[in-house]
């Protein structure tokens, strides 16, 4: 059972990572910085619970806000460039964050045990859950309550004017400016929201695994973050969830016997989807079909 609880935690956390890229992708931006925000959230909240004895809730909150703050800061310069240049700029940011934590050596003795980020050795003993007697089922429940809340918030956002504005910017920047939308403001807000969600995911990740180091936050993880919404499509938040279940649940876990060949399969899958279904597996048509099947009627009525 613990195996499935562990897997469900991974799926929940990766869903947050994917959603953080999803919200930015609505505005037409492809960012590999999400893993950087994820790392900032992981280290910040880990430091708070292990070294300063914070409760998990304020630690999560502060971890995501700090990540959001950095997203806001790098949003201004990074979002001046587009497309490939943005990809390069955001990779640089993620590398910078990763190297910062590679060098961060800040330890403290708490209850006779030395804790804190130990540069190259990584950050061990993030044992909040174990220390407070949570079993893995409870942790999985906790993770999923948060994931569901974030998904609900984004689902609701998509139905609001703000959501329509994000998509308008993603579709046509010239038209969006011409109807009075401030592109920089819209993009920076999306980046900040994405940073907060990634930071939240990172915070949960650090506490679920109890150990993080700079190698955790690799370019591979950054690619995963954007692969989920690419595969799942941008027609709604459920696409990202489905993509995470598919990749983490089936590709990564189900095909474990293939070893590192799985990464090859993963690359192949992205190339295939981009060529065959550029709007993602769950594009507008499939989304309509699903809605009609499961909710009945399936009328638009978004603004009623």
């Amino acid at each position: 059972m613990d195996y499935y609880f562990g897997l469900s935690q991974t799926i929940g956390i990766h869903t947050l990572l994917g959603l953080s890229a999803y919200i930015l992708m609505l505005t037409g931006q492809l960012s590999l910085a999400q893993v950087g925000f994820f790392a900032i959230g992981a280290y910040t909240s880990g430091i708070l619970t292990t070294m300063f004895g914070y409760h998990i809730m304020p630690a999560l909150l502060i971890g995501s806000l700090v990540a959001g703050f950095f997203a806001f800061l790098i949003g201004f310069p990074a979002l001046r460039v587009k497309g490939l240049m943005l990809v390069v700029a955001t990779i640089a940011f993620s590398q910078f964050v990763s190297l910062f934590f590679f060098n961060l050596d800040w330890r403290k003795t708490v209850n006779g045990v030395e804790v804190g980020p130990d540069s190259t050795q990584g950050f061990r003993e993030i044992r909040y859950y174990a220390a407070n007697g949570w079993d893995s089922g409870e942790v999985a429940l906790f993770v999923w309550v948060i994931v569901v809340l974030v998904m609900a918030a984004l689902w609701w956002l998509d139905r609001s004017r703000a959501g329509a504005v994000l998509r308008a910017v993603g579709e046509d920047e010239l038209a969006a400016q011409s109807v009075g939308l401030n592109l920089t403001a819209v993009k920076v807000i999306a980046m900040t929201a994405g940073g907060v969600i990634a930071g939240l995911g990172g915070s949960l990740y650090a506490h679920s695994t109890t150990y993080v180091d700079h190698l955790t936050f690799s370019i591979l993880l950054a690619t995963f973050a954007i692969a989920y919404p690419i595969l799942g499509g941008l027609s709604g938040v459920f696409g990202t969830l489905v993509a995470v279940i598919f990749i983490q649940g089936i590709l990564v876990e189900g095909l474990r016997f293939l070893g590192d060949w799985r990464n090859l399969l993963f690359g192949l899958l992205i190339v295939l989807v981009m060529n065959l279904k550029p709007e993602g597996i769950i594009d507008a048509r499939v989304a309509q079909l699903l809605k009609r099947t499961f909710l009945g009627g399936g009328k638009g009525g978004k603004h009623a």
Binding site: L157, S160, R161, A162, A164, V165, R167, A168, E171, D172, L174, A175, A176, Q177, S178, V179, G180, L181, N182, L183, A284, K299, G300, G301, K302, H303
Partner: protein, 251 residues
């Protein structure tokens, strides 16, 4: 209302627009015509702030607005349509209008939370009224990309009007329309003027320009070669030579 003073735009060595002076009065429909590549669309893009001007000034309601970004121009009351329709195709008709409610009034009237996340009755009513005016009420929930060509043109005009402009720039709104649709469009443009909007009409379709404009200017190779009422323009030998003359020879 709008003064262009010595407005110039050079792309490298090409003078797309050269020393343009135009004065548009409040409440008029001002036409801007000229052959392809004469600088009409460039003029619209400069007024909206899409391109920075190389030289010259744009003064709108006694305030210099040269080189201000497009979203600020809209707040001041300048809205536009595009020569090639640029709708948000995957958004619904309704959402296309909803995202465009960015006039100064709309921003001031509601608090930011209500503006971004709510949808007040007043907002809905306003959009419904404009949908009605544009004969798009039944299409409200359809993606803009699925509309017929004429409907897309009407939606783009509606999207500009929903921002409560004082000055509306129409960049070849009749392109691709049949005669009947052009007549309907002319009616619509006059209605908008009567509701207090000043209009700059950039157009190729002569029937429309001659019929609806109060005054007009003619551009050729980036320079203004004539200005006056439609009748004056029709009888101007320079215009006939540069524009009407050549076009009647080719047709």
């Amino acid at each position: 209302m709008l003064n262009l003073e010595g407005l110039s735009k050079h792309f490298g060595g090409v003078k797309a627009l050269d020393q343009l002076d135009i004065k548009i009065e409040k409440g008029e429909i001002f036409g801007l015509i000229g052959p392809n590549g004469s600088g009409k669309s460039t003029t619209v893009n400069l007024i909206c702030g899409v391109y920075p001007a190389t030289r010259g000034r744009i003064i709108f309601q006694n305030e210099e607005t040269t080189n201000k970004p497009p979203h600020q121009q809209l707040r001041r009351g300048i809205a536009r349509t595009f020569q090639n329709i640029r709708l948000f195709e995957n958004l619904t008709v309704w959402q296309n209008l909803w995202v465009a409610q960015n006039s100064k009034e709309d921003v001031a009237k509601q608090n930011p939370m209500a503006r971004w996340f709510g949808s007040s009755a007043a907002v809905r009513e306003e959009i419904e009224k404009i949908l009605e005016f544009s004969q798009l009420a039944e299409k409200s929930n359809e993606p803009a990309g699925s509309l017929a060509f004429g409907e897309q043109r009407r939606l783009e005009l509606a999207r500009a009007v929903v921002a409560k402009p004082k000055l509306l720039l129409l960049d070849e709104p009749a392109a691709g329309m049949n005669l009947e649709e052009v007549e309907e469009l002319g009616e619509r443009i006059r209605n908008l003027r009567d509701s207090g909007i000043t209009i700059l009409l950039v157009e190729h379709v002569m029937e429309l320009v001659m019929e609806v404009t109060d005054r007009m200017a003619v551009l050729n190779f980036g320079q203004k070669i004539a200005e006056g009422t439609p009748t004056e323009i029709q009888n101007d030998p320079k215009v006939q030579e540069a524009y009407l003359g050549t076009s009647s020879e080719t047709t």
